[in-house]
Amino acid sequence: MIVPFGHVLMLAGMLFLLGVFCTLTRRNLVMIILGVEVMLNAAAIAFVGAALHWQSLEGQAFVLFIMAIAATEVSVGLALIVYAYRRSGSFDPSSCNLLR
């Protein structure tokens, strides 16, 4: 393996933190979902690296399923958000304040 596993993890970790940052700071429902997508991708990178590290295919399988999950997430999430946008006319997460 050319790239050491540690470096892959580092990359994944940074990407993960970026995703978290996006999720936590952007006041937009779509961007939150995007941030989560980035986090998922970070996990996928880590899986790929680990799969290489351990020389097993299970990590790769994980990546495939993560992609599927991400797709589901976007479809369900966007459906919800679009629905919400139609009702409230905003993507602002702070408009979700009915329940307390």
Binding site: T23, L24, T25, R27, I32, P93, S94, C96, N97, L99
Partner: protein
């Protein structure tokens, strides 16, 4: 100890003597409250049987020297056994006879006095309860048993003082009497426990057998004696627990005659006599008793000098005479004390019963008004009153003279002449206030001569009530008691023989009596009588006592030396508004307050947390993430040796 044997005739007699009043009490309470005559009959019958039995016992055991003790196990605890039994010895037999006799006479007297009262049956029930408790107290064989009946006597006293429960002052007086004697009783109980802890079984004979000195260190013994004496102080209304007795006069007059002069209050002195050898083990304690007796006697006499209420005068006089007895006993005059107890029971009951006749007739307690009302027209009561007052003042040939002489003789032998001087002063004061009352009653001022009497004299009593006043149930007890008062003094010799036996002189050798003493005492008595006559009796007298001319003393005496003020202050300010308020508020503010604070705080915390929960989505995600990060950091922290 002799175990119970059913065939023992004496024993059966004792049981009969004590238990019949209880049976009467229970029967009246349970069944015959509605039927007054039956109730009174039951009660009278019971006490008559009791009296008969006690006479029988007295006769049977007149010459028996060894005390008889019967007892049975009542409660047995691991290391403590509480026996129940009777102790028959001269003192208890004598006391038993006095108690039953006066009980009987007073109950007969009450037939007339209480007639028509709605609580007639209840009255006789309580009287029976008292008779039972008192006789059992007298015959108790152990100190614990004595304490139990001591309390019951207090209870019946409470019930009888507050007999007219709709009258505020009566209930107040009952409460006061109970609580003040209770204070003494707690001290008694403590002393009892102290004895119990050290000696084990507080049988009276064992306590008296002088072995206790070996079992208890002398300091503890003195302490125990003092604590037990506390009970005596409470019950016999000695200084400083004396003020309940005058208030107790709120009860019906026969009750005052029976409980609060002749018998119940004398129980304190009786206890002293009962445990005389035990107390005598501690000279220090005896010295203190002497002091307290003296103080009580003087204080009460001074109070009696200014009182206007006839029953109050006799109440103070009771305190003073009880103090006198205690002086005698504490000075070592065992016989003198008991003898005075006996004579005092007779003449004091007589005084009260006579006063009762006046009160019943004129419905007032004020001596001036009674005098104006014409008290002297009631011949027999007046004669009896004179006899009794003479006895009280210590004039021969009445019984009081002999017993007082005995006590003074004992005092003369005590360590310091000051006690004798105090005793003599007491004699003077007693004679003065006794005859002050007599003079006021017998020689009312003629019209227009009244300087300080109450405004608006009393209308002369209607004929009917006067008729009632001299009815037979009133008269016979008076006559019997008057004769007793006349004669009892001459039985000093036999009594002394009975009580002390031969060669069993207790501490005081009566042979060395100073010759001048009787004459001095008699002179002082006569001086007191003379002074009273001069101030209240003779024609044109000012009807103002020498004490009343000094405002300070008058105030001091008539306010009972401010003792009540002190108690009032104590109860009201320190107990009620002090500790009680403090504790009640502590409950409300501190304990409940802190609990309230905790619960309120919890609730507020919940509100705050719930508020935090409703934040925007991203804040929540941030918290989730941050906590996970912190938990991960904890791993590194821990790993680096933090834990």
């Amino acid at each position: 100890m002799i175990p119970f044997q059913a065939e023992d005739a004496i024993h059966m007699t004792v049981i009969l003597a004590t238990l019949t009043p209880l049976v009467a009490f229970l029967l009246i309470m349970l069944g015959t409250r509605a039927r007054k005559n039956l109730s009174a009959g039951l009660s009278l019958g019971a006490i008559a049987i009791s009296f008969g039995c006690s006479l029988l016992l007295l006769a049977r055991l007149w010459n028996v020297r060894e005390p008889l003790e019967y007892s049975t196990r009542w409660v047995a605890l691991n290391r403590m056994e509480i026996p129940f039994g009777f102790l028959l010895d001269p003192v208890s037999l004598l006391m038993l006879s006095i108690v039953t006799l006066i009980c009987l006479l007073v109950q007969v007297y009450s037939l007339g006095y209480m007639a028509g009262d709605p609580g007639f049956s209840r009255y006789y029930a309580f009287m029976s309860l008292f008779a039972w408790a008192m006789t059992s107290l007298v015959l108790s064989s152990s100190l614990l048993q004595l304490f139990i009946f001591w309390e019951l006597v207090g209870l019946s006293s409470y019930l009888l003082i507050g007999f007219w429960y709709e009258k505020f002052s009566a209930t107040q007086a009952g409460k006061k009497a109970f609580v003040m004697t209770r204070a003494g009783d707690v001290s008694f109980l403590l002393g009892l426990i102290l004895v119990l802890v050290h000696v084990g079984n507080p049988a009276i004979l064992e306590m008296n057998s002088l072995d206790s000195a070996g079992l208890m260190p002398s300091g503890i013994l003195t302490f125990a004696a003092l604590l037990i004496f506390g009970g005596i102080v409470g019950k016999s209304a000695q200084f400083p627990l004396m003020t309940w007795l005058p208030d107790a006069m709120e009860g019906p007059t026969p009750v005052s005659a029976l409980l609060h002069s002749a018998t119940m209050v004398a129980a304190g002195v009786y206890l002293f006599a009962r445990l005389f050898p035990f107390f005598a083990l501690s000279p220090t304690a005896m010295g203190i008793f002497l002091f307290i007796g003296t103080v009580s006697m003087i204080l009460a006499s001074t109070m009696a000098m200014v009182a206007r209420d006839i029953k109050q005068v006799w109440a103070y006089s009771t305190i003073s005479q009880l103090g006198f007895m205690i002086m005698g006993l504490a000075a070592g005059g065992y016989f003198a004390g008991v003898f005075h107890l006996t004579t005092h029971a007779g003449f004091k009951a007589l005084l009260f019963l006579c006063s009762g006749v006046f009160i019943h007739t004129w419905h007032t307690n004020d001596i001036f008004e009674l005098g104006k009302g014409g008290a002297r027209r009631l011949k027999i009561p007046v004669i009896a009153l004179v006899v009794a007052a003479g006895a009280l003042a210590g004039l021969p040939p009445f019984s009081g003279f002999f017993s007082k002489e005995a006590i003074l003789a004992a005092l003369a032998l005590s360590s310091h002449p000051v006690w004798l001087a105090a005793g003599l002063l007491g004699v003077f004061l007693t004679a003065y206030y006794a005859f002050r009352v007599l003079c006021i009653l017998l020689f009312p001022p003629s019209a227009g001569e009244e300087p300080s009497g109450p405004v608006g004299g009393l209308a002369p009593a209607p004929k009917g009530s006067r008729q009632e006043g001299s009815s037979r149930t009133f008269i016979w007890p008076l006559i019997i008691l008057a004769f007793l008062t006349l004669l009892l003094g001459f039985f000093q010799g036999p009594l002394q023989h009975f009580l002390l036996g031969e060669g069993k002189a207790l501490l005081v050798d009566h042979g060395e009596q100073a010759g001048w003493l009787p004459f001095t005492a008699l002179f002082l008595s006569l001086a007191g009588v003379g002074l009273a006559w001069a101030e209240f009796g003779r024609c044109g007298a000012a009807r103002l006592s020498f004490v009343e001319r000094i405002p300070f003393l008058r105030e001091l005496f008539s306010r009972r030396w401010y003792l009540d003020h002190f108690y009032h202050f104590f109860v009201d300010r320190i107990v009620d508004r002090g500790f009680s308020k403090l504790f009640a508020q502590n409950d409300n503010r501190v304990i409940d307050g802190s609990i309230e604070a905790v619960s309120r705080g919890t609730l507020e915390a919940g509100r705050f947390l719930a508020f935090l929960q409703s934040g925007m989505i991203q804040y929540r995600l941030l918290v989730s993430f941050a906590v996970m990060v912190l938990l991960s950091l904890y791993f590194f922290y821990r790993d680096s040796g933090g834990f």
